[in-house]
């Protein structure tokens, strides 16, 4: 036998693609070539496979070996996940295993020099890409693989064990399922936040309607504390969302919870030195998902928003609008999901004090500081609240604030009301849908009219206020119409960031 084809998969973005690893053994000078657009880590598999086979007392052919990666596309194939398939193919062409024995399997995993199987980035999407064949994965990744596998999943720890199992000399070993539940008490609790009633209320609205939130306040006011707790009041992920998030985390080789499935909304808080590529994705030939994709179905928290590179911030605009990011490179392109709740924090001005009358920055300095964020980005924050350092009385108060559990209950109810009515969360309502699902009372439309007439509200802002008003109504009294109070609250929680008395329209 000089030729065999073994099924495996490669990753592009967050999507796996099945690959046939074809192996040919021919006469000629001993050598090993991989063709079919392999990337660097793929090419290195020659040395890993050879060492692994020899470590497990399995033979290595001293002939001319050609490996072809075929999946009908011209895209670059990356990753070390093809190691096991190559090793198995080599064993078949040497007649250690039979073609019939391996034909119902596909293989995913990296080989260690000692013959052990290691997990690779994107186990979940890779397994999802395989048809109903039995997938062999490293034991460490068994739980992840089971989440999405269409066929059976077999897990092994070493190459020797794998060979023995395929020959049916030893039975396949299955692990016990572990609990995927995360207990609420482990998460940071809103009751730890003293005072900050406005900011806490804004968090509740943000969670209930998925409205983007900007916290304006000096360092030490508790902005990151609030952002961490915002995740805690979001409900558990629905099954499809959980699988999407799991796939993205797996593709980025980011740690997964013990059960394998991401059931809680993720929180990503990249540092302000984060590069454009790390934020939106790309970078490797497999187009690794960036922070915005990792935050899908969860919260992306950007502390010190002004310190981020302007290009990084402006790259957020399209994903914020569309919920996906299209990453394209010369050789490949991918659509990565990026549907996240954006929470950002910034100082109000260079001196950080903010309070008019105590702050020493002049108008120009303030404007210059805030001009770092482009207007279109600022416009996308439905909620903008000033946060101050808590008062000493509040810090020392013995009474605890409302706990996350109670808030989460209200949030959950408001969200299900919105979904039942609109079919989507309130932040996703279109302008036409607003008229249908969020009709205004007379007082409310008057209030909004005043604001628009005075030039305090743009057309886009007008719709955003109405969406927030809808969420406030859902949280408060479940009324059909959005009334004056709901709009007033929405207005009070969306403060103007540019100084009011600037430009001609102010007068």
């Amino acid at each position: 036998m000089s030729f065999v084809s073994v099924r495996s998969a490669t990753l592009l973005g967050v999507q796996g693609a099945p690959v046939d690893v074809e192996i040919h053994l021919g006469m000629g000078l001993p050598g090993f070539t991989i063709v079919g657009q392999p990337d660097e880590s793929c090419r290195e598999s020659r040395d890993r496979v050879r060492a692994a086979l020899l470590s497990c007392d399995l033979p290595w052919p001293n002939k001319r070996i050609t490996v072809n990666l075929a999946n009908g596309s011209n895209e670059r194939k990356g990753g070390a996940g093809l190691d096991v398939a190559i090793a198995i193919g080599l064993l078949v062409v040497q007649e250690v295993l039979t073609v019939e024995a391996i034909s119902r399997f596909s293989f995913i995993g990296e080989l260690g020099l000692d013959g052990s199987l290691r997990s690779v980035a994107g186990i979940v999407p890779l397994v999802a890409a395989i048809d109903d064949r039995t997938v062999v994965v490293p034991r460490i990744a068994e739980h992840e693989a089971r989440i999405v596998a269409q066929g059976n999943v077999c897990a092994v720890a070493t190459l020797a064990e794998l060979v023995a199992s395929i020959r049916e000399e030893v039975p396949w070993v299955h692990q016990q399922r572990v609990s995927t539940e995360v207990s609420q008490s482990e998460l940071p609790n809103m009751s730890d936040v003293r005072g900050q009633s406005a900011a806490r209320h804004a968090c509740e609205i943000a969670a209930a309607g998925s409205h983007h939130l900007l916290l304006i306040g000096p360092p030490g006011a508790g902005k990151s504390m609030l952002a961490q707790r915002l995740v805690g009041i979001l409900p558990d992920l629905a099954t499809t969302d959980a699988i999407t998030s799991t796939i993205i985390h797996s593709a980025a080789h980011s740690a997964l919870p013990p059960g394998g499935l991401v059931t809680r909304p993720p929180l990503r808080a990249p540092h302000h030195s984060t590069s454009l590529i790390a934020m939106v994705g790309g970078g490797t030939s497999s187009l690794r998902p960036g922070e915005i994709s990792l935050a899908t179905n969860g919260v992306l928290f950007l502390d010190e928003l002004g310190e981020f590179a302007p290009s990084v911030l402006d790259a957020l605009r399209q994903p914020l609008e569309e919920g996906v990011v299209r990453v394209a490179r010369a050789k490949s392109s991918a659509v990565l999901p990026a549907k996240f709740l954006l929470v950002a924090a910034t100082n109000p001005c260079p001196c950080g004090e903010g309070t008019p009358g105590l702050c020493v920055c002049d108008d120009r300095a303030k404007q210059k500081y805030l001009r770092r964020f482009s207007g279109p980005l600022l416009d996308r924050f439905d909620l903008r609240v000033a946060v101050t350092r808590p008062h000493v009385d509040e810090l020392l108060a013995s009474s605890k604030s409302e706990s996350s559990r109670d808030i989460a209950l209200r949030v959950q109810q408001a969200r299900s009301r919105a979904i039942e009515r609109n079919g989507c969360l309130n932040s996703a309502l279109t302008a036409e849908a607003l008229d249908e699902y969020a009709p205004l009372t007379k007082g409310a439309s008057q209030l909004l009219r005043h604001q628009v007439e005075r030039g305090r509200l743009s057309g886009r802002g007008y719709h955003r206020i109405r969406r927030v008003g809808r969420t406030v109504a859902d949280l408060r009294d479940q009324s059909e119409k959005v009334d004056e109070m709901h709009i007033a609250v929405a207005l009070a929680l969306r403060v103007g960031v540019q100084p009011h008395f600037s430009g001609e329209q102010a007068m």
């Binding site: 005072g195 406005a198 001005c349 009358g357 008062h391 007033a488 609250v489 009070a492 008395f501």
Partner: protein, 376 residues
């Protein structure tokens, strides 16, 4: 000499650029001699024909006029001044100085309430035909002139309005700060823009205190709207004191460091300004006739809103701080604030809420027309 063909003003302008000829000496010489005579008698500063040619062109190009001590149009108010400028460069009409003049100065980092007040006072003064003198700096200065520009925008006939006077530190062709360029043009078009610096002079820091002395000398009454305990406005106040010019100050919250300077002035005995009437009285004008009835066009507040407004007590507060202060529900307060902002009672300044005048007849009368009049 060849420059005899040139205008005296051009020669004075060239002499003003000579570092060898100090301001004081030049001013003394001008008291007795014409600029061309001075140029003849002093060898080390004698202007060449080329210099005069260039200066004449430059003045024409930048639309600047020149007046000097001894010239027939040199401002009367400055002639007697001990530290008068020998040469003044200006755009616009010097006749503006024949009007009654009120200087309005203040800090560059003003609160929203301070900016609001500065523009309202100058608006009211302009409506009564009184000139506003200010320095066109950031903050209060700019807002004082913005009030005047609103008055000009509202009236088709400008003849009865007060004329804006701007005194700046840089050359008139060097706009600083740049964002005030529209105001700068407004003042030179409708009023008088004045500087003692020759064309092209950049705004070096030492020029500002010198500018302040001219600003003070040109004001009959100086109103300080908001000022820290030290700073440019306090220098202007000192210059005004030296010249025996009435200084008035707008009182502010003691917790507000932007009002530290004005409150200090009040402690030292200067008169407070709570309405434009106070300024009119200081100018010795009859306030009865010129004064339209004080009333607030803003909708009356509910008792609940009024209580909230009172508890704010003139401080700038965030929503959280208000919740802590009033112990009311956050939604409740947000509702009140949203309502009051729409009606023009409060304003949100980047997350902090400020009060725009209380609803009392004894309050600032300049609010007639309220928030709606200036359409903020």
């Amino acid at each position: 000499m060849k420059h005899s063909g040139h205008d005296e003003g051009v020669i004075a302008a060239v002499l003003a650029t000579k570092p060898q000829l100090t301001c004081r000496k030049f001013s003394q010489l001008l008291a007795t001699a014409k600029p061309s005579d001075i140029a003849q008698s002093l060898d080390n500063v004698r202007p060449t024909a080329d210099e005069c040619e260039r200066m004449a062109k430059r003045l024409e190009l930048t639309c600047m006029s020149v007046t000097y001590v001894g010239a027939h149009d040199y401002p009367q108010t400055l002639v007697q001044d001990p530290t008068r400028s020998p040469v003044l460069f200006y755009r616009g009409k010097l006749a503006a100085l024949n009007q009654r003049r009120v200087g309005i100065v203040g800090t560059r980092s003003a609160t929203a309430a301070g900016r609001y007040l500065a523009s309202h006072i100058s608006f009211d003064l302009a409506e009564r035909g009184i000139s506003t003198v200010s320095g066109l700096a950031r903050g209060i200065d700019a807002w004082a002139h913005k009030g005047v520009s609103v008055a000009y925008g509202r009236n088709a006939d400008h003849s009865h309005l007060g004329i804006p006077i701007g005194v700046v530190a840089s050359g008139l062709d060097v706009v600083y700060p740049k964002e005030n360029v529209e105001l700068w043009n407004f003042v030179s078009e409708h009023g008088l823009l004045l500087s003692e610096s020759p064309p092209g002079t950049s705004p070096e820091p030492y020029r500002f205190p010198l500018r302040n002395r001219i600003l003070a000398a040109l004001s009959e009454v100086l109103v300080v709207v908001e000022s820290r305990a030290t700073g440019g406005s306090m220098i202007t106040v000192e210059e005004a004191h030296k010249r025996d010019i009435t200084v008035m100050a707008v009182p502010g919250s003691p917790r507000n460091s932007s009002s530290a300077g004005t409150n200090l002035l009040l402690q030292q005995g200067c008169a407070p300004v709570v309405s434009v009437d106070d300024v009119l009285v200081a100018l010795g004008l009859d306030t009865r006739e010129s004064h339209p009835p004080v009333f607030d066009e803003r909708d009356a507040l509910s008792p609940q809103d009024e209580a909230l407004l009172k508890s704010m007590a003139g401080d700038a507060l965030t929503l959280d701080q208000l919740v802590l202060r009033t112990r009311r529900d956050v939604v409740d307060i947000a509702y009140s604030l949203g309502r009051m902002e729409t009606r023009g009672w409060v304003i949100n300044n980047g997350g902090w809420w400020e009060v725009l005048g209380m609803q009392t007849p004894a309050g600032y009368g300049g609010f007639h027309g309220g928030g709606n009049k200036l359409g903020n």
